[in-house]
């Protein structure tokens, strides 16, 4: 016959201070790992969600990013008419030539960062159709106007709608703010490509080309044709793969988070074990009585495990809530978390505790509960009723 659930729960309430301390330990471990884990997954999410699987990025061969690539004008004029490139209603190819420059920007908190400024033409909004202007309007060419990503807008001085933004050699008026479903475009500033080239004194206006493949077109064939064209050494890749590659630098951080979770988890398990051992010790007489009354070893074991798992669950709930709140506070205080991707430009990341982070925290808490409770529960179950009662 199993012990009623009220028994372990009642015990937790009866020894309030001890229960609270153990719950706090587990909660702290959950907060620490969740916070760190969500930082890495937010970063990864931002980078991976950038790029459209239907888009190709064309760079000069050997360039690992936009910033170090140069695209000859003739190459642009030729590639955009390749077969397989989508066209808009007016028959214009959906090919967006872009110039990337990384000037210094100053953060609200006094830092100086390299920010990715993308010089584009009007067609860019059609190729990157997840980029939506949510405030203001698109810039007009040759008026020194800029549109700013949501993340960059909150982080840098002069980047709000209506402000005058100073970077490079000139000043630009911010006429719009855009969003792109949380992708890393939101950390960028977009201006007219020709104005940017003039400002940066770049001999060629473009560094790379983004193409939208036509529906049903064979993307691999298009990639092969661009790569194989012997007139220019170009290299095409899927936009989503390009950004996935950029996010690889986050993988080493995952390793740190994993190590942190394991070490902290083992520590918390020790703490939980300790508490429960003490509980078993102080309840010897009770356990002996229960056994004498006819409760089986299994039901005692189970009851103690339930006690431990309840503590872990409480720790998880408190910890997850605190982590979510803390994450929000940290993120809004710092105006997003900056992270340098391998291109040295800054990605602004919103720290958000995601479902995956919570699942990981739940697994950790469950392991702490089970392993922390197992040894003391076994000891309780193995107590011989006669001895336990005699000592009491």
């Amino acid at each position: 016959m199993p012990l009623p659930l009220r028994y372990p729960l009642g015990n937790l309430v009866a020894r309030r201070a001890r229960t609270l301390l153990t719950v706090s330990v587990i909660a702290l471990v959950v907060v620490a790992t969740t916070l760190f884990g969500s930082l890495v997954s937010s970063l990864k999410r931002t980078l991976v969600s950038t790029g459209d699987p239907r888009n190709l990025i064309v760079l000069r061969k050997g360039s690992t990013n936009d910033g170090s690539s140069i695209l000859p004008l003739e190459a642009y004029q030729s590639v955009r008419f390749f077969e397989g490139v989508a066209r808009d209603a007016a028959g214009e190819p959906l090919a967006s030539p872009e110039l990337v420059v990384q000037p210094f920007f100053h953060t609200e908190s006094g830092g100086r960062e390299n920010v990715l400024v993308r010089g584009v033409e009007k067609i860019a909004l059609a190729v990157h159709d997840d980029v939506k202007i949510v405030e203001g309007r698109m810039f007009e060419p040759s008026k020194h106007e800029a549109i700013v990503g949501r993340g960059a807008s909150g982080r840098y001085i002069g980047a709000k709608l209506g402000d005058t933004l100073k970077f490079g050699r000139g000043s630009w008026s911010v006429v719009g703010v855009f969003e792109s479903a949380g992708s890393s475009f939101e950390s960028e500033v977009w201006v007219d490509a020709r104005e940017l080239a003039a400002d940066a004194k770049r001999p060629l206006p473009y560094s790379g080309l983004r193409l939208r493949a036509a529906d049903g077109a064979d993307m691999d064939a298009l990639i092969r044709r661009i790569d194989g064209d012997s007139r220019w050494a170009l290299e095409a890749s899927r936009e989503s793969e390009y950004y996935a590659k950029q996010s690889e630098s986050a993988n080493s951080l995952y390793l740190i988070v994993f190590g942190l979770a394991i070490l902290a988890g083992i520590g918390a398990t020790f703490g939980a074990t300790n508490t429960l051992y003490a509980a078993v010790q102080s309840r010897r007489a009770e356990i002996g009585t229960l056994r004498a009354l006819g409760f089986s070893k299994a039901s005692i074991l189970f009851s103690f495990l339930v006690e431990s798992i309840c503590v872990a669950a409480a720790g998880l709930l408190v910890g997850a809530a605190v982590a979510a709140v803390l994450g929000h506070i940290v993120s809004s205080m710092l105006g997003g978390i900056g992270f340098g991707s391998s291109t040295f430009s800054t990605s602004v990341i919103e720290l958000r505790v995601g479902a995956g982070d919570l699942v990981a925290a739940a697994v950790l808490a469950a392991l702490i509960g089970v392993f922390g409770g197992l040894a003391p529960a076994l000891r309780a179950a193995r107590l011989r009723p006669i001895e336990a009662l005699r000592k009491a």
Binding site: A17, L21, T22, S24, V25, L28, V29, V31, A32, L35, F36, L39, G62, T64, G67, S68, Q102, F104, T107, S109, G111, R112, E113, N114, F167, G168, R169, D199, A200, A233, S249, S252, L253, G259, L260, L263, A264, I266, G267, A268, F270, G271, T273, N274, T275, Y277, A278, S282, V330, L334, G336, I337, G338, F339, G340, S342, F344, T346, I349, L351
Partner: protein
């Protein structure tokens, strides 16, 4: 000291609990030490590698904007300047499929050795570098990872400039934190002219060595003032503040790391406090007996507190040792990871290990003080009545 055996016996009487508590504290202290290495590594690098008397002059707009090369001569002529040298990014890739694997710059061979005196490049290597037009001087780490040695000829394909160049490695930069590949500026200039382009008229960064630290501030002002109204305005700062700025974007990451460290430290306090209160509670009877036979309150308080402190210090010491060992292992594994910057250098220094130890000591005191005080204050008669 004479009570040490007594304290030790108390600790060893519930071996499982003591071991678990010490283990938990050890793990937590190890974690704190490991986490602290990241921001500490950054400070360290700034202090050790970045010089206070070396200035960085870049275009105010950003690194990519470049500066006219003629600025270098003007800076050299300023009072207090020992020497100035330029770096210009070449973006050479050994294998185009892998991209740029190490930073490579066109530099001024006459000046570079003086400006980067602290890199300890041998005079022979510098001399060979000056004499060899296509000579290159390469960081030790890069030589190792690329499997090159002095005397090798290597070909790089330019990604920032449209010329491919072949170099002869003539020396090494004996500094593990400088994976650079330096070659003569003139070589790139001539190659560009041969390719029918204008020669090299710009530079990316001007490095300036100042004779005395006290002149740094005025020189920084002078440089920026001199170029204020010319075509390219400059932003000058010391190497230290330059790197600090360069990595300032990691500030958010560091905040999170420090926050997590604080949480883990708090965690240790709770674990230790829990143990201390449990072991004191179980001993109320004994403590009452001790008092009844004449042991003073102060002594009881002292021994109980000492017990908690000893336990957490032992745990902390073990933890600090473990973290020290882990970083020694990791050290070999971590290479040049530009996205982590100086956070990538996990090294638990002695200072951090000592910090961890003090943390444990502190935790022991905090965790022991309340239960020990309670036990010492508890009335004898009352307790004994409960027990017997």
């Amino acid at each position: 000291m004479k009570y040490l055996p007594f304290i030790w016996r108390q600790l060893t009487r519930n071996k499982i609990r003591t071991a678990l508590t010490a283990g938990a504290i050890a793990l937590a202290v190890a974690l704190v030490c490991l986490l602290l290495t990241m921001p500490a590594g950054m400070d360290n690098m700034l202090k050790k590698l970045a010089s206070n008397t070396r200035l960085v002059v870049v275009n105010e707009g950003g690194l990519v904007y470049g500066l006219p090369y003629s600025y270098l001569q003007k800076i050299r002529a300023m009072p207090g300047v020992v020497e100035a040298a330029s770096w210009t990014w070449y973006g050479g890739a050994h294998d185009l499929d892998k991209g740029v694997e190490f930073p490579n710059f066109a530099v001024d061979p006459e000046a570079i050795g003086v400006v980067f005196e602290d890199y300890n490049i041998t005079p022979d290597a510098l001399e060979a570098f000056r004499r060899t037009r296509n000579g290159a001087i390469v960081g030790r780490g890069t030589l190792r990872t690329m499997n090159w040695k002095i005397g090798d000829e290597v070909a790089l394909k330019g990604t920032a400039w449209p010329v491919d160049l072949t170099f002869k490695i003539v020396g090494e930069i004996p500094n593990d934190r400088a994976p650079h590949f330096w070659f003569q500026r003139e070589y790139l200039d001539q190659a560009l002219r041969a390719a029918g382009r204008n020669g090299l008229q710009t530079m990316g960064i001007a490095w300036v060595r100042v004779d005395e630290a006290s002149r740094v501030d005025s020189l920084l002002r002078e440089i920026d003032d001199t170029f204020r109204n010319s075509e390219s305005q400059t932003a000058s700062e010391t190497e230290q503040s330059y790197f600090k700025n360069f990595f300032s974007m990691l500030q958010g990451l560091i905040t999170v790391i420090l926050l997590v460290t604080g949480l883990v430290a708090l965690c240790i306090v709770f674990i230790a406090a829990n143990t201390a209160s449990m072991s004191v509670r179980e001993r109320f009877g004994e403590i009452a007996v001790l008092k009844a036979v004449g042991f003073s309150r102060r002594l009881i308080f002292g021994t109980l507190l000492a017990e908690a402190v000893l336990l957490s210090t032992l745990g902390g010491a073990a933890g600090a040792l473990v973290s020290f060992g882990i970083t020694q292992l990791l050290r070999g594994a971590s290479g040049w990871n530009p996205s982590l910057g100086p956070l990538g250098g996990f090294v638990v220094s002695q200072a951090i290990a000592v910090q961890g130890l003090f943390l444990a000591l502190f935790v022991g005191m905090i965790s022991g003080v309340v239960p020990a005080f309670g036990a010492a204050r508890r009335g004898v008669a009352e307790t004994l009545r409960e027990v017997f």
